[in-house]
């Protein structure tokens, strides 16, 4: 797999497609795609670790819930993801370990803010042994 995610342009907002050999990898890559919109990921250090649980209705809505849960952590105390690992995964729930740090204005320049990951034209699917998801963000 040579590309973990790519961005899709949208007049008012922005979307991305994320990929993964496994569904866990897909979710990890989608989280990185999300935070790369917010900040230069290589400026974030893994100083802090959080365990995150997310429940949803199905795998697609689980993707949006996961991303919005990460945005919630960012909004509440400026927590920026550097990397994540999915510890447990089911069709409607997941548990992840997320490493990152709280925003430091001296080192992190916020590129753009994100209101939410949306359900618009959302999909999570498996195509020829590769998982793929498309998500649009409301900026």
């Amino acid at each position: 797999m040579n590309r973990r995610y790519k961005y899709i342009e949208h007049t008012a907002d922005l979307g991305f497609k994320a990929y993964g050999i496994t569904v866990e990898e897909l979710f990890v890559n989608a989280a990185e795609a999300l935070f790369e919109v917010l900040v230069a990921l290589d400026s974030v250090r893994a100083r802090d670790k959080r365990i995150i649980h997310v429940d949803s209705i199905d795998l697609e809505t689980l993707m949006v819930s996961w991303l919005n849960e990460l945005l919630y952590h960012f909004e509440m105390d400026g927590f920026l993801l550097q990397r994540s690992q999915i510890d447990k995964m089911a069709s409607c729930s997941l548990q992840a370990t997320v490493c990152g740090e709280s925003i430091d204005p001296a080192r992190h320049e916020i590129r753009t803010t994100i209101k939410a990951a949306t359900y618009h034209q959302l999909y999570v699917k498996r195509l020829n042994d590769l998982w793929e998801s498309r998500v649009f963000l409301d900026l």
Binding site: K6, Y7, I8, E9, H10, T11, A12, D13, L14, E36, A40, D42, S56, I57, E60, T61, V64, S65, N68, Y72, E75, M76, G78, I103, E109, I110, R111, T112, T113, K115, A116, T118, Y119, H120, Q121, L122, F136, D138, L139
Partner: protein, 499 residues
Amino acid sequence: MDGHKLVFIITAEKGLVMSTNVAIKKLDDYRWIIPRSGKMKTEGLVYTDEAMLATIKKDASLQQVANVACLPGIVGRSMAMPDIHWGYGFPIGGVAAFDMEEGIISPGGVGYDINCGVRLIRSDLDAAEIRGHIPRLLKALFKNIPAGIGSRRKDLKVSGKKMNELLIKGAQWTVSNGYAHAGDLEHIEEMGCIPGGNPEYVSEKALNRGKNQLGTLGSGNHFVEIGFVDEIYDEAIAETLGLHKGRLTVLVHTGSRGLGHQVCDDYIKLLLKASGKYGIDIPDKQLCCAPIKSTEGKQYLAAMACAANFAFCNRQIITYWVEETFQEVLQMGPKELAFDLVYDICHNVAKIETHEIDGHLKKLCVHRKGATRAFPPHSELIPQCYKEVGQPVLIPGDMGRYSYVLVGTKTGLMETFGSCCHGAGRVLSRHKAKKAARGRSIIRELEDRGIYVQSAGKGTVAEEMSEAYKDVKNVVDIVHNAGIGKKVAKLKPMGVIKG
């Protein structure tokens, strides 16, 4: 992304962000019809002219007008204002009304920023005399009004019982807590309170997000803008609104912040389940909805009202700090400033309203997403002082050009459930705007034109540059010429703070 290593890989996917082939027929110079086809329960009506239609066709927003026409219980047409662009589920600039018995309520028809809106404050100050103080005023406003990520004022934190009261009472709360005068309420849409708010239906997460964000501007296209009345189109109406050529004005544009975003996300999740439960066929998950009379529908309406009420308070508190800042910087008292709220209006909301349908009065749930209410003279729901002229409609343009004040009309009430456009509408994506701004100083370019900008993020200024938006003049001319709004005045900016 200037200055960063990352290069975005952009793909324009056919049939996704590109226009779909929706048939559209000219009705007259400013009205275009999308005829019924497939599952559409009614036709679409788009307010535009030929030139703007060419821009609109570049994205899939016309398909979204057709999608909304497929929803159960829609009354009248699925409409779009000239500032229409591709949104999530409903298009931005979309207006649709639903029957209270057969119809639905959809969080996607309101949007993430519930009651994002704008208010206009007029003053007796001569703008020319204040021009020299603009940089100082902006600096002080930027200090006093939290803008951008995580910024907040330590002297205002509302939670628990107080928060619940605010979510139920809306702007009335700001009166009881000393942030507004009782007389201000009449100058706010719905008297600053959407009835039926019930905090029990607002999640803990939404409340958590809200408690630190009351009185914050946020980022993106939100702003506080100091400007002046540049041109008057209707002297008598402008006089009634207190607008005089050359006098200073302030526009405040923000919404319900994280609390509203969370309410939207929570209820999309709930209503996705409800759509299945009630057998509603939706072409896109973001259009998920529930019957208005269902438990889920009622819960969303109760939570949405809370978020809308939060937004009314947010704009009022910011206004209080704006006035305080002017007093402090200009060393003037409130009488000298003579700040008065002209009006405060919602851009993203669903409301229960009574409209005349085929000669009978009918209660409807009107969704306005990126659209404003625009009620005509003598409407019961507008302030006594504006009874003869109609409800003020505030249309902010981009920060480099101008904004407009209109009033609602009878034609608008008959055709659009009393709705009008809300702004300019983007033409360039944020990425393209940043690309266009590369190697330029947008801030200096604006200063050369007499507009000072202070922003929390450098990126925001590039994203929000004039070229990224349609010329709001063209949008306003269409609604004026179509007769669904009446031009009253044009405002020009002198200074802007952004998140």
